[in-house]
């Protein structure tokens, strides 16, 4: 079976949709965070696929940047979640509605 751009993009779309579903449906902040990473990697996959099929390295360079930024973001985000957990003793989004009027 020939694996073309369409197949890559389909996988990328499925990954993205799964991540989005996780972000919307799951209650635990950590899991939401993992789903977010999934969405980022779906985007990475699409970029790499475009890069490969267009014979152009720009997309891959962009992926490296995204991975770097994501690593930084994870460290900050996890630190925030830990701090939040220490303060509220919970990591469930239903309990974090103090922005509501």
């Amino acid at each position: 079976m020939h694996v073309g751009l369409e197949q890559y993009l389909t996988v990328s779309f499925l990954l993205f949709a799964l991540g989005l579903l996780g972000v919307i449906m799951r209650r635990n902040l950590l899991v939401i965070y993992m789903s977010l990473e999934l969405m980022l990697n779906a985007a990475n996959l699409a970029l790499v696929a475009f890069s490969r099929f267009n014979d152009n390295l720009n997309g891959q360079i962009l992926v490296f940047f995204i991975i770097t930024v994501a690593a930084a973001e994870v460290s900050v985000g996890l630190a925030l979640i830990v701090a939040l957990y220490r303060k509220r003793q919970t990591a469930h989004v239903e309990d974090l509605t103090s922005m509501k009027l």
């Binding site: 972000v23 919307i24 974090l96 509605t97 922005m99 509501k100 009027l101």
Partner: protein, 620 residues
């Protein structure tokens, strides 16, 4: 024109004084009063210097462009001619004496500094009216006079009656000013200028320039004079204005503010056509009669003099209406002397009587207050028109003017009013200075200090000789250029040229005095109500004008105000504004429901938004 700077200084010194007192010396009473007196006295001295240098029979203007918008060019300028020079003498001279008098009169008042600041502001405004060379400038000072008279009448604002009187004076004046402003706009619209000289030239060039609106424009301008000079039907403010301190009454209601209306009419006489003059003459005559009748039955010493002022103003307006600006201004000047004298003498009596103003509480003050007695007598004789006092000459010139215009009705009114004038003046005189002391205060009355009696004496001299010291020459040179200058003796004998009005005038004045003498020589209460019955009651109640206005205009105004209030409260605020406010509020409440605070709801909506956007961008 030599010393052109002097009139500017005369005008602005009182303003500087008012500013200096308000900003710096409000805590120092003596300093404040000296600044204020200095400003007006300097004004008098500068007027003398200016007139000496230029002579009084000249006509000039000094002005600077103030604003120009499209076709409208307004100067801020000073009109300098015999008319304004004579008025400068009256305002700074009589006004200066009143300032000096106030120094002693207001001595115990804690607000003395404030009083002098207001006096200076008033003097500035009045000088502005006198010197203005165009309608707009005059109107601004006209309103300033209204404001400063409001401040002065309401000087003792902690008394509710003074506050009310101040408001009444201001509002009634505004009514007249409204007509005045319309008149000014009409003149500007028709003739395209506001400058008095330019207006006069265009009227001379084309007497029908105002066309069909001539009478309307003239009467609208007259509205201003009706308000300021307290003519019927806006005469009601003047008597109430007696709530102010007595020097204020002398300054505002004798020498200056009420004279502004007459002065303005004389200034713009060329704009008034025959029909307008006719109305003016009859309103003046009616006011003179009405006020004289009311004065007969008043018991407050200041109110009697106030109604007498109204009556004399009626004379002046009538004289203007009879095309006699010279007699009108002549009477205005002599009236400024003797009426200021009467007011200030009354103030001296009030001081001596420990602020008692009811004449039936006084009596026999002749012995206790000799200087006041003599000065008051001179003022009363001048007011009644007894020769050779000043009032005789000016009043006689008005009588002669009536006959010259062959207006026998107004001549009859004028003569009758003259009799009434002599009667009520000497009623006051006999009750206050003769007979028995009618209260304890009267027994312990004392003569006032020299600072008070000195201005009285100076004014008394002028009230006595004012009729033949050249006043009439100066006015005649303004209004009738071919008028020959009369020598001293000619002025003294001037009334003899028209013996009929002179003899009638003297006769009715003596009759009035005799009647007052026989009725009030030793009276302890008023014998007139018993003789006149209902009429005396009506006179005492000022012919119920206040009550009539209360029942008609004020009621109607209250009704309109209630309706307007209802519309504002329910239609404008309740319905229109309420709907907008309620709609915003309601949609705000609905939109607030979307703010759940749940992170995932936001994320879901965000994705939904992206999906919609993608659909619209790519799906088509």
């Amino acid at each position: 024109m030599k010393y052109e700077i002097l009139p500017w200084l005369i005008l602005f010194l009182p303003l500087l004084s008012a500013a200096a007192i308000t900003l710096f010396t409000l805590r120092c009473k003596t300093m404040s009063s000296l600044i204020s007196i200095g400003a007006v006295a300097a004004g008098f001295v500068m007027t003398v210097i200016f007139v000496n240098a230029n002579g009084i029979h000249f006509s000039g203007e000094t002005s600077t462009n103030w604003l120009s918008i499209g076709k409208l060019n307004v100067d801020f300028g000073l009109k300098l001619d015999a008319l304004s020079m004579m008025m400068l003498f009256v305002v700074t001279g009589v006004g200066g004496l009143i300032h000096i008098y106030s120094y002693a009169y207001m001595d115990e008042d804690p607000g003395k500094a404030r009083f002098f600041a207001f006096m200076s502001l008033f003097t500035f405004s009045m000088l502005g009216i006198v010197l203005a060379n165009n309608f707009l400038e005059m109107f601004i000072f006209w309103e300033l006079v209204g404001v400063s008279s409001y401040l002065l009448i309401g000087f003792w604002f902690e008394k509710p009656s003074a506050g009310d009187a101040a408001k009444k004076a201001f509002i009634v004046n505004r009514l007249g000013d409204f007509g005045f402003l319309l008149g000014i706009l009409m003149v500007w619209g028709l003739l395209g200028s506001l400058n008095f000289s330019a207006l006069q030239n265009s009227i001379i060039a084309n007497p029908a320039a105002l066309g069909a609106m001539a009478t309307t424009a003239g009467l609208l301008i007259f509205c201003g004079a009706v308000g300021k000079s307290a003519q019927f039907p806006l005469h009601v403010w003047l008597a109430d204005a007696m709530e102010g301190p007595t020097p204020v009454s002398a300054l505002i209601h004798a020498a200056t503010m009420v004279a502004a209306g007459v002065y303005m009419l004389c200034r713009v006489l060329f704009l008034l056509d025959a029909d307008a003059l006719h109305v003016i003459a009859y309103i003046g005559g009616f006011t003179a009669l009405l006020a004289a009748l009311i004065a007969v039955q008043q018991n407050d010493i200041k109110r009697i003099i106030a109604y007498s002022t109204l009556s004399q103003l009626g004379y002046m307006v009538m004289a203007v209406g009879l095309n006699g600006p010279t007699p009108a201004m002549f009477h205005l000047t002599t009236h400024a002397f003797f009426k200021a004298l009467l007011f200030l003498s009354a103030g001296s009596v009030i001081l001596g009587m420990h602020h008692e103003q009811d004449i039936w509480q006084m009596g026999n003050l002749r012995k206790k207050m000799p200087v006041t007695f003599w000065t008051f007598l001179i003022g009363a004789l001048a007011l009644s028109g007894i020769p050779p006092f000043s009032g005789f000459y000016s009043k006689d010139s008005i009588f002669a003017q009536c006959l010259e215009q062959k207006n026998y009705l107004l001549f009859g009114v004028a003569v009758f009013v003259a009799a009434l004038t002599a009667f009520y003046t000497f009623r006051l005189f006999f009750v206050v200075f003769f007979g028995k002391e009618k209260s304890e205060h009267a027994k312990h009355a004392h003569e006032s200090s020299l600072v008070i009696t000195l201005p009285l004496i100076v004014l008394a001299v002028f009230a006595a000789i004012g009729g033949f010291i050249g006043v009439v020459n100066n006015y005649a040179s303004q209004f009738a250029p071919d008028h020959e200058t009369l020598s001293f003796a000619q002025q003294l004998m001037e009334p003899l040229k028209t013996p009929i009005p002179m003899l009638i005038g003297i006769g009715v004045a003596l009759l009035g005095i005799f009647l007052a003498f026989s009725l009030y020589k030793n009276a302890t209460n008023d014998p007139l109500p018993a003789k006149l019955g209902k009429l005396a009651e009506a006179m005492k109640n000022r012919f119920y004008f206040d009550e009539i206005y209360e029942a008609t205009f004020i009621r109607a105004h209250d009704f309109i105000a209630t309706v307007a209030d209802w519309i504002d409260r329910w239609l404008v605020e309740g319905f229109c504004i309420g709907a907008i406010r309620g709609g915003t509020d309601l949609s705000g409440r609905a939109l607030r429901l979307m703010q759940t605070g749940n992170l995932q709801t936001y994320a879901f909506l965000f994705v939904l938004g992206v999906a919609l956007l993608l659909y619209f961008v790519l799906g088509k």
